[in-house]
């Protein structure tokens, strides 16, 4: 069983998005995703200041096994990136919802978050992929 915290929203492509107290949205990949990928060895992040549209490619995560695109869950401007993943990409495996975050967005419209999957709906996506 993978960990699916209820304080995040999810995309069927396995990114999570969490509205922080400062109004920014943190983005990463789910526990299910890191487990499917296996050992993460490289992460390519967007540029700080870059504008992204929901569904756009905003980075790449590579495990030993395969490369996988990261899509922006909502539209906005990249206001922070997790530089530490450059030297410690294994954080994505160890703490996918914490130290393994990828980037933070200043969302154009917070309401977009409401359209994403909640934990329960995302659980169904994972179950469907497992069977």
């Amino acid at each position: 069983m993978s960990d699916i915290p209820t304080d995040c929203k999810y995309v069927a492509t396995h990114e999570w998005a969490r509205l922080e107290e400062d109004g920014t949205v943190s983005v990463g990949i789910s526990d299910f995703a890191q487990n499917s990928l296996g050992d993460v060895v490289y992460v390519e992040l967007p540029e700080q200041g870059q504008d992204v549209v929901a569904g756009d490619e905003a980075g790449v995560v590579e495990s030993v096994k395969a490369a996988s695109d990261i899509y922006a869950p909502v539209s906005g401007t990249v206001v922070a990136i997790n530089d530490s993943l450059e030297d410690e990409p294994e954080k994505v495996n160890q703490d996918p919802y914490g130290d393994g975050w990828f980037f933070k967005l200043k969302p154009n419209d917070e309401a977009e978050l409401a359209e994403l999957l909640d934990a329960e709906a995302y659980q169904e996506v994972c179950d469907a992929e497992e069977h």
Partner: protein, 360 residues
């Protein structure tokens, strides 16, 4: 996840489930890609001992007076070089010199034993039928196979099963232990053995090895270990359209005696010494991962990556690439539209725990 319902289970399937192996469909078999961390599994084999379920491999025994003549015609390496209990690595070529499969042939007292890939099983069996000679027969064997690999592999199996493998057993030779056949062979670049054994014994042997602390390893670690060791993977580094001379296994083609007419000889003999391309190694110190199919630009022309991965031992990406034979030194690889700097090196990258390419 893929639908596994039609995939075959090896005799060790329950052991993989018990060890929380993450199962995938590999050439029609359900096998673990890892049991948690493939990097940790990789390190176990480089520094201690690990084991792999390789029961999906196809084992074909060839019997009879024409068995030698048959294999001398089908295998580009020459089985006539083998002493009893010896083994050799070689390629099955088609008429145009492409590689149908790579295999290991053991010369046993009453037969030859061929171990070929799982993905090529049907076409190899068809090829054998097509070229079969009157005084011979061949039959696929229903056996399990466990590879125990790493610097402590031999000591581990010797302690668990006293007398199973003599210290003097040379690499690429085999011995019998009860109804096991044990070869000092592998696909990791480390010392070790591959044990072929009755299906019904497999689970108990696996459990005994596990209880002794041997790390179960999945397909993921198998791939990074073989790539660091510069060993080819059929379907990526070897295929039916590519000569063995363009795949860094020219050393397995036995040109002597000149009159031995192995299949494919006529096609590849003109390339002898002047094959326009070579399969060589790449190291990339930049961040990013080299992958199969990426384009390579060298000073001598363009090439392509046949296998690429992250090397846990070098802690950077490595690859095998087919490039013009004159290519050396720095090169560039296109990754998602960006050119990245890499360097051409001679494989293997790692053997017996030691890095063999300079750290520049």
């Amino acid at each position: 996840m893929a639908d596994h319902s039609s995939a075959l289970k090896t005799p060790l399937f329950d052991e993989h489930v018990a060890a929380a192996g993450k199962l995938v469909d590999f050439a029609g078999w359900m096998l673990p890609v890892n049991y948690g961390s493939q990097i940790e599994e990789h390190q176990s084999v480089r520094t201690a001992v690990g084991m792999f379920d390789v029961s999906h491999m196809t084992i074909i025994d060839v019997h009879g007076g024409d068995a030698e003549a048959f294999l001398r015609r089908l295998v580009a390496n020459d089985v006539a070089k083998l002493q009893e209990w010896g083994a050799l690595y070689g390629a099955l070529l088609n008429e145009t010199g492409g590689v149908i499969d790579d295999l290991i042939v053991y010369f046993l007292p009453d037969r030859y034993r061929c171990v070929v890939n799982a993905s090529t099983r049907q076409k190899v069996l068809s090829w054998f039928s097509k070229h079969s000679l009157p005084a011979m027969s061949f039959a696929e064997q229903d056996q399990a196979m466990i590879a125990v690999q790493g610097p402590q592999a031999l000591a581990t199996v010797q302690e668990l099963w006293p007398g199973c493998v003599p210290d003097s057993l040379n690499p690429f030779s085999a011995c019998r232990f009860g109804d096991w056949l044990i070869g000092r062979t592998g696909y990791t670049g480390e010392d070790g053995v591959e044990i072929m054994l009755p299906v019904n014994d497999a689970a108990a042997v696996w459990q005994t090895l596990r209880a002794a602390g041997v790390q179960p390893c999945g397909l993921g670690a198998r791939d990074t270990l073989r790539l660091e060791a510069g060993l080819n993977l059929y379907g990526q580094d070897l295929d039916e359209n590519t000569s063995p001379l363009a795949s860094n296994i020219g050393w397995t083609v036995a040109w002597q005696p000149p009159e031995r007419a192995f299949i494919g000889r006529q096609a590849i003999e003109p390339q002898r010494g002047n094959c326009p391309t070579k399969l060589t190694g790449l190291v990339m110190r930049d961040k990013g991962i080299l992958r199969h199919g990426q384009d390579v630009t060298t000073s001598a022309g363009d090439g392509i990556i046949t296998s690429g991965t992250y090397s846990p031992t070098l802690e950077c990406s490595i690859a095998l690439a087919r490039v013009p034979k004159e290519a050396t030194g720095p090169c560039q690889v296109e990754i998602r539209g960006k050119l990245k700097a890499a360097r051409i090196v001679n494989p293997p990258f790692v053997r017996n725990g030691k890095v063999l390419v300079d750290e520049a």
